[in-house]
């Protein structure tokens, strides 16, 4: 029996456990990526790179266990599982997508306890064409860490090819675990919680992409109160944001010295407010919460959803609305370490909601780190949907290749958000950004009139 030192889960990991009902064997926790190489790869070298990965990124070796009814985690010294090789010559693109989708649904054995929590499959397609399917469990990796793992496979591959030293071993995450424990015992944490209590002093308004008249309004969920979801059946709808528009948004953000995601956020919150009949809108922004170099290299899940609540009147010019969002975003980022269970507690206490009750909102994340066109080994990575949903609507905006276009993926809970609502919103998003960038002095109300 291997001697091991166990560590508690970090709060974001506990949040995942809470969100999904303390069952780690949920497919929603599968983060899956399909990697297509832009150059011919040497299969043996690639296999060796994948085998070496956990020695360079120790977070790949982290496993979870149950001890006295609590999840804990430790680093395993077991040899990594052999990489699987899958022969798929002659398959159509549709057949490949169906195959990857099936793999994305697969659960880890033994209820995820004491087992390797990532999976790599090398797929042989025609001739020398190789692809990689990589799946990381959300307890030990978020999307940022999954992409970090793929980048490191490329770095190792290049080092082996060039006969150069392998990349330096990344630090274990236990320093982060310790720093987090210190934060929760600090006055800063108390001040952050007090800030969020003030934030939630007035009960939020409910918004839905479906708009007024849809069942979620009629059925009495007018404030979006509800229990945390465990796992909903979901689908993902991909829609393109053309490269020409992406370029203009990026240029406008650069000229205004604003974060790019604010433009997409403004479009989403403006639309949600309009179709839901309120100027007071919350959109949860999902962030990786990795700022220091240690946080960026140490894996685990640090992701948090931060409610960004804005009240913006329709006569506010587009550029002023962006500045308002910029100020709010900066402010909530200062309190970004307060997590789901704290929010839930605040909401329960302040608005007399049942224990565990929260507000269902739309989630948004902008993830430029999926762009691997500048990595050591040239490849593109596409996220693969796992067939589940954690919230009615989660919009993630990512580059999936080097074309310059972005993909807006609308992960919707089936029987809740209607696909036609997604199509209406996406058409609005494109028109709103086109027009807002062209005439930033125009009010968002006027832009709504033009773009709906």
């Amino acid at each position: 029996m291997e001697e091991r030192t166990c560590y508690p889960l970090m709060r974001a990991q506990k949040g995942l456990a809470l969100l999904f009902g303390f069952y780690p064997d949920k497919q929603i926790l599968n983060i899956c990526v399909r990697v297509r190489f832009a150059e011919t790869v040497d299969e043996d070298r690639l296999a060796e790179s994948i085998r070496l990965l956990p020695s360079i990124l120790p977070y790949c070796r982290i496993r979870i266990c149950l001890k006295d009814g609590q999840f804990e985690q430790y680093v395993s010294d077991d040899a990594p599982e052999a990489m699987e090789i899958y022969d798929a010559p002659g398959r159509t693109e549709e057949e490949m997508q169906a195959l990857y989708s099936d793999w994305a649904h697969e659960l880890f054995p033994n209820d995820c306890m004491d087992v390797q929590l990532y999976r790599a499959r090398l797929v042989r397609r025609e001739d020398n064409c190789r692809e990689l399917f990589f799946l990381g469990h959300h307890f030990i990796m978020d999307a940022y860490a999954v992409i970090g793992a793929i980048e490191h496979i490329g770095k190792i591959y290049k080092a082996l090819e060039d006969g150069a030293p392998l990349p330096k071993e990344a630090p274990l995450p236990w320093e982060m675990v310790e720093q987090e424990a210190q934060y929760y015992a600090s006055p800063r944490y108390e001040a952050d919680v007090a800030w969020w209590k003030e934030f939630y002093r007035e009960e939020p308004h409910f918004t839905s992409l479906n708009g007024l008249g849809s069942p979620e309004f009629i059925d009495g969920h007018s404030y979006g109160r509800g229990q945390n979801f465990t796992q909903l059946k979901g689908i993902a709808i991909d829609r393109v944001i053309p490269a020409s528009l992406v370029d203009r948004v990026n240029a406008a953000a650069r000229d205004s010295r604003l974060a790019v995601q604010l433009y997409y956020l403004l479009a989403l919150r403006t639309y949600l407010g309009k179709v839901s009949g309120t100027d007071d809108v919350i959109v949860d922004t999902v962030i990786a919460r990795r700022s220091t170099l240690t946080q960026k290299r140490s894996g685990l899940s640090r992701a948090n959803t931060l409610p960004l609540r804005s009240v913006i009147a329709p006569d506010t010019p587009f550029r002023d609305a962006l500045l308002i969002l910029d100020g709010i975003q900066k402010e909530i980022y200062r309190h970004a370490d307060v997590l789901l269970e704290d929010f839930t507690g605040i909401i329960n206490a302040q608005h007399k909601t049942p224990p565990g009750c929260t507000y269902h909102t739309t989630w948004l994340t902008y993830q430029p780190y999926f762009d691997l066109s500048k990595s050591d080994l040239k490849f593109q990575a596409n996220s693969i949907h796992n067939g589940a949903a954690a919230t009615p609507l989660y919009v993630y905006i990512t580059p999936q290749d080097a074309s310059g276009e972005l993909i807006a993926t609308y992960n919707i809970a089936l029987n809740y958000i209607r696909p036609e609502s997604v199509d209406r919103f996406h058409a609005f998003l494109l028109r709103f950004l086109e027009n807002g960038i062209l005439t930033p002095e125009e009010s968002i109300g006027s832009l709504l009139g033009k773009c709906l």
Binding site: R257, A259, R289, S291, T292, T294, R334
Partner: protein, 74 residues
């Protein structure tokens, strides 16, 4: 002050070729996100035992600008 800020900054970014300079921009040169910058500001507050209002950060984009702001405040 400038050296202390560089020391804090090195926890967040790999030092660029040629090193940090007063004109190094947090977002353009170091590619820091708004979350990175705000987290770093939290560290600066803790280090110097001060509070920095979010609106004060408008117009602060470089190491020089942050240094001058802090020198005026402390």
């Amino acid at each position: 002050m400038y050296e202390s800020l560089c020391e804090i900054l090195r926890n967040y970014v790999e030092e660029p070729e040629g090193g940090l300079s007063p004109d190094t921009s947090f977002t353009e040169d170091l590619h820091m996100t708004s979350l990175d910058v705000m987290t770093m500001i939290g560290d600066v507050e803790d280090r110097f035992h001060i509070t920095i209002a979010t609106e004060d950060l408008n117009g602060i984009y470089t190491l020089r600008e942050l240094t001058e702001y802090l020198e005026g405040k402390i």
